[in-house]
């Protein structure tokens, strides 16, 4: 029924602009909640308790190619180092960790993965030897003096120790034992000098991410060689829970000084991996940190999952770790990428599915000749994603070999 009043105004039953506007609003209300359905993943293609799921296999094929093809590797490393020298280093760590987990998942493929791991480790050690201790650090590392002596970066020592230990947990390599012993001794010495038992990644700058990975290296050394670091681990947990937590959120701080003065509050690009790393240090504390991080930083909208870099109670600025932050929604590339590790480690399937939906939509995957990569990501991002798809067996192997109760 068309009323005469409406007919008088437009002469067309309903005013055209009004009709189009109403149709557009209705269409938006229908489309936005449906969009995620087109990108929702079949979880089994990405995550499996045993074996290696197809998408992880394809991502691994691309990453292994980048590790073994000299020209492609040089190009990719140049891309990473142009943005951040740390990413070059961390892509190695995540790749070695991913390969160790893949080897434990597929023992019959171990022989194929071990040479790639060795190549990465040896190249990393050689570069550190040849180019110096600042090669894998950002430029500001040279601006100040390390407080602990000798001056070393816990970031570099910790991740090299984790790489060496992961390789040895997959298959013993006698040449790596003394190298691991040296790094572990350096980690313990650095951490013991700090009033908050945390080593510096940069001069007078301690990162929770690096310190938890250092603790993981100690745990892995315990499992491999029967060493005992329970005193340090127990003391570290007590100090961290007393002095290195953000009181608003109950989350561990991301960065603080050698004396424990907070520099930055909790950060998504740190806390997801921290929670995962704590799984072999203190599983209960790890679960609590994940739950709080999920509550403070994990978000979903219209079926798409993402993560904030900072909790609502903390104002921070986008930096090289957070990656670009999408205005209004607050989506952080760094935090969202590492949220995959947290969600997978704590088997948070709903959040994982929502994160994957976002990855399928906004990660711009490209599959060529069985090799998968995400154009919106980079090699370190893809290595983190691969690690999130295969993690689990390495931590179980550490526990199986025996770590001391705290």
């Amino acid at each position: 029924m068309i009323t005469p009043a409406i007919n008088r105004r437009s002469g067309a039953g309903i005013r055209p602009a009004g009709a189009v506007g109403a149709a557009l609003i209705l269409a938006t209300l229908v489309w936005l909640p449906c969009l995620h359905l087109l990108f929702r993943p079949h979880l089994a293609r990405f995550y499996a308790e045993r074996g290696i799921p197809p998408q992880a296999q394809a991502l691994a094929a691309q990453q292994i190619m980048l590790c073994t093809n000299t020209a492609a590797r040089a190009g990719e490393i140049a891309v990473l180092r142009r943005s951040n020298a740390e990413w070059d280093f961390m892509s190695r760590t995540y790749m070695v960790l991913a390969l160790a987990n893949m080897g434990l998942r597929q023992p019959e493929r171990k022989a194929a993965y071990l040479p790639v791991m060795d190549r990465l480790i040896e190249e990393t050690l050689r570069l550190e030897q040849e180019r110096g201790k600042y090669y894998f650090l950002m430029d500001y590392a040279t601006n100040g003096a390390f407080r602990a002596r000798p001056a070393r970066s816990l970031f570099v020592d910790g991740e090299i120790a984790v790489m060496l230990a992961a390789r040895r947990l997959l298959a013993e390599q006698p040449a790596y034992k003394p190298l691991l012993d040296q790094r572990v001794a350096a980690l313990v010495a650095q951490m013991r000098q700090s009033p908050v038992l945390c080593g510096e990644s940069y001069p007078d700058e301690c990162w929770m991410f690096c310190n938890v990975l250092a603790l993981d290296a100690l745990r892995m050394a315990e499992a491999l060689d029967g060493t005992d670091h329970t005193d340090l681990l127990r003391d570290w947990l007590a100090v961290a829970q007393r002095k290195l937590m953000d009181p608003e959120t109950g989350l561990l701080l991301a960065t603080f000084t050698f004396d424990g003065r907070p520099l930055q509050g909790p950060e998504g690009s740190s806390i997801w991996m921290v929670a995962h790393g704590l799984q072999i240090v203190d599983p209960f504390f790890a679960v609590m940190q994940y739950r709080r991080a999920r509550q403070e930083l994990g978000r979903r909208i219209f079926g798409f999952g993402f993560a904030w870099e900072w909790p609502a109670s903390w104002r921070g600025q986008a930096d090289v770790d957070s990656g670009p932050v999408v205005p209004v929604l607050g989506i952080s590339a760094g935090s969202s990428g590492l949220a995959f590790v947290g969600a997978r480690a704590f088997n948070d399937r709903d959040y994982l599915s929502a994160l994957l939906t976002t990855l399928n939509y906004g990660g711009f995957p490209v599959m060529r000749r069985g090799q998968l990569r995400y154009c919106a990501s980079n090699q370190v991002g893809d290595a983190v994603l691969l690690y999130s798809m295969v993690l689990g067996p390495l931590w179980r192997e550490v526990e199986r070999r025996g770590i001391r109760p705290l």
Binding site: A12, G13, L24, A27, L35, V79, S83, V320, V366
Partner: protein, 100 residues
């Protein structure tokens, strides 16, 4: 279908929406064919080595806009066109039903 003049006037509106949707999809198709997807690395703070950072990021932004246009806007325009068409049919139905 023998529709009254008032209903016929909403046809160009729907057609306009369909045309805009088609243009958005075509633009996205062009960007995809030109390989601009490669430049979306700016989202993670990296850029492929073939171009300087600024042009590389600009190409990435163009691709992103085209992608959002094709996946967000174009379906909304299509649905809106469909709703306009349904509205036209509903009005026609009501009018014919109300005739003595």
């Amino acid at each position: 279908m023998n529709l009254p003049a008032t209903s016929l006037r909403s046809r160009p509106l729907a057609r306009g929406l369909l045309l805009r949707a088609a243009l958005l999809v075509a633009f996205y198709g062009l960007c995809q064919a030109a390989g601009l997807r490669e430049y979306t690395g700016f989202l993670s703070g990296t850029h492929p080595g073939t171009l300087a950072p600024l042009p590389s990021a600009l190409l990435g932004i163009i691709y992103l806009v085209a992608y959002l246009g094709a996946t967000l806007l174009a379906p909304i325009l299509l649905l809106a066109a469909g709703f306009l068409g349904l509205g036209r049919l509903a009005r026609h139905y009501l009018r014919t039903k109300s005739r003595p």
